[in-house]
Symmetry: none
Subunit: 260 residues, 2 copies
């Protein structure tokens, strides 16, 4: 029923963007969901708001009759779901990845409310793929998962009990996306060609290698250096051309012999 | 576990209004819910948003272990739920009753979006009790039930599939109520220590010098390099500490001798 995450296939679909309906370019990514019922309920939540692209990263049980039952008449969303083994696969070709949570955290990617994030997501989705990423039911998003994203969208919640059900969180975000898409009739601002997930990751890896070479970064004592740099560049929403400039600068530094 | 709907008791509680927290004065009323799982999930949705007062009108099965399970750590909301036999009972003492639905209808009751209704509900709830009324899973709200209310709040949804799960609808309304109660003023906006103008300029000058040293930047043919980099970092709104990190990286690159 579900498609496997074939890299070639996803590289073909990357640029298939539906300009008329930004919601069609927004995928919902569930990381390691445990309960198939939540997968089905998330599919239903998506469809009620006009979202259709579901990605499942290492689901414990899928497909499953419980998912079908809870999906109600959104079983088509389940049938077209893409199952991946790791988050990177689910983010291939994505221009903006948003980690969705009810918990605020220190030193993650730039934080904003669900409403603000939805507005940004819809703007980007007019020209590029966008992902809304949700964590596991028990543990939420891991730091590594959040760091794969350029935004942290928080759902304002009761500080003494912020544990939204997974599908309920998907419902709230999908609802905000729908409102943003309807309200965004004003038209997009100038479209920027944002760097894709792979391009950004390529830059981070390059920068990290170079910093290790010059002794600025010690991978045995990483402290928070890479997360901090990721957060900085995530805030900027780096364009494709800028990635090329930044990598050019790093390469020049690597090759240069100081005259002394 | 649940209180019965004793008219005398409810007439006593009518005027106990918590002025400090309007959410405490907003009850969620579920009309004839069929699945106990939905009752539990609704209780959880309420608690995550700071709502506590659940009214159940003629529930098919309650209490029920399925409700407890789906409530997760919101079983206190279930324990204090009020079971009524008819909607009028659940609306005793209520100053504003809002029928909540994803379907718009031709009725005498004024229609508004969930967001507009939440703003009005919170305004009223500063001084009086308010009810948000939800229909049965299969049939939604009956015309008679809607006519018991003074407002119809619609959740904007996919016109081809607007069937939100009951608890998901409660989650969306509860979320809007919470945002309205917070006054929308409270964004995430933890105060960041942004770099000053001088600090930013110091970094740009440092980076430019270093790029000249390594031959990446030729000041006689500047093209748009520095303006592009400025634009990138301006978008990020760089923090003071980040400037220190960036300058540290550049300095390490300047000092390093490649082994070749």
């Amino acid at each position: 029923m579900s498609e496997s995450c074939d890299p070639l296939e996803s590289s073909i679909t990357i640029f298939q963007v539906n300009a008329a309906d930004p919601l069609k370019n927004i995928r919902v990514v569930l990381c390691a969901p445990v309960h198939p019922g939540n997968i089905g309920a998330a599919a239903r939540a998506m469809k009620t708001m006009g979202l259709a692209r579901l990605y499942l990263v290492a689901p414990r049980r899928f497909p499953d009759p419980e998912a079908e039952w809870r999906a109600s008449r959104a079983t088509d969303v389940l049938a077209h779901a893409t199952v991946c083994s790791a988050l990177d696969e689910a983010l291939q070709g994505v221009g903006l990845a948003i980690a969705c949570t009810a918990r605020s955290r220190e030193l993650a990617v730039p934080e904003m409310t669900a409403r603000e994030a939805a507005a940004e997501a819809v703007g980007v989705a007019r020209a590029q793929q966008v992902a809304c990423v949700f964590g596991n039911e028990t543990f939420g998003l891991t730091t590594a998962e959040v760091n794969c994203c350029q935004r942290l969208a928080t759902i304002p919640a009761n500080s003494r009990y912020s544990s939204l059900n997974l599908a309920a969180a998907v419902q709230v975000i999908a609802y905000e996306l729908r409102l943003a898409a309807r309200g965004d009739a004003a038209g997009p601002a100038k479209q920027r060609q944002l760097a894709s997930f792979e391009e950004l990751e390529g830059f981070y890896a390059h920068l990290e290698r170079a910093m290790i070479e010059v002794g600025f970064f010690d991978p045995r004592h990483p402290k928070k250096l890479m997360p901090r740099l990721r957060r900085l560049f995530a805030r900027a929403r780096v364009e494709r051309e800028e990635i090329n400039i930044l990598r050019g600068i790093v390469t020049s530094f690597q090759r240069h012999k100081p005259k002394r």
